[in-house]
Symmetry: C2
DNA sequence: ATAATAGGTAACCAAAAGGTTACATATTCA
DNA sequence: TGAATATGTAACCTTTTGGTTACCTATTAT
């Protein structure tokens, strides 16, 4: 269950890959070259990131002539969102509960100073 | 902006660290030893994970005698949630938009075949 | 006081991540 | 056809990550 999302978490862990997601989201159907244009590292490095993103299903692609069209897929993010919200939904009920939670926790523990 | 959350994304990338979050969430104020009890790796390895989680502010702790009390802090996750929801809020408006999005993207691109 | 307990630090090591260059393939354009 | 373009693959290298053992420090319990 959590294991099936490992690749998604890992994919999102890299700033470069998050940047790629933003780029592709911003221009659906763009090419690898277009994405690589935003980076100073080699096109190969960018392609490796794209492979990881495709493995996590955060990017889907299709060949179109000599280029490849890239599309952002938010479904895995939605799944993570659902995972966290179901596990931590009580905490997220309001913006205030996050503070309440810590206060209550510490009260229970007769913490010394 | 995205940079300030790098440590959080990186911290969440590890299944072991997500497991630690669940353990600590489940027993607020628990000790390092308690957490380590759930793992087969050494206590030192677990402590390194805890350090990363503390750096990301996902875990806060306080010394209590010879032991250390650990607390889960969901604020950084809330921040990520806000980041994604603000950036991708249009996609998350309903559970259906994620499909709609891909369809529209592909329509725009006169894809062959 | 001294044993046992809980945690912290240092030095080291293997595997994985992220990058490179070089080369190969397939498609379009002139 | 032949050159330019866009992507794909292979081999390799360096740094980071995640783990280990050994030892040190502080606190509690007998």
């Amino acid at each position: 269950m959590a294991d099936s999302m490992d690749v998604v978490f890992e994919a999102l862990a890299s700033p470069a890959r998050r940047k790629i997601l933003d780029i592709v989201k911003d221009r659906p159907g763009c090419s690898v070259k277009h994405v690589a244009g935003f980076f100073e590292v080699s096109r190969i490095a960018v392609m490796k990131h794209l492979q990881i993103l495709e493995l996590a299903d955060l990017i889907v692609s299709e060949k179109d002539g000599r280029s490849r069209r890239l599309f952002f897929n938010c479904v895995p993010i939605q799944m993570i969102y659902d995972r966290w919200t179901s596990e931590y939904s009580a905490l997220w009920a309001s913006n205030l509960t996050k503070l309440k939670y810590r206060i209550e926790s510490r009260e229970k523990t007769h913490g010394r100073k």
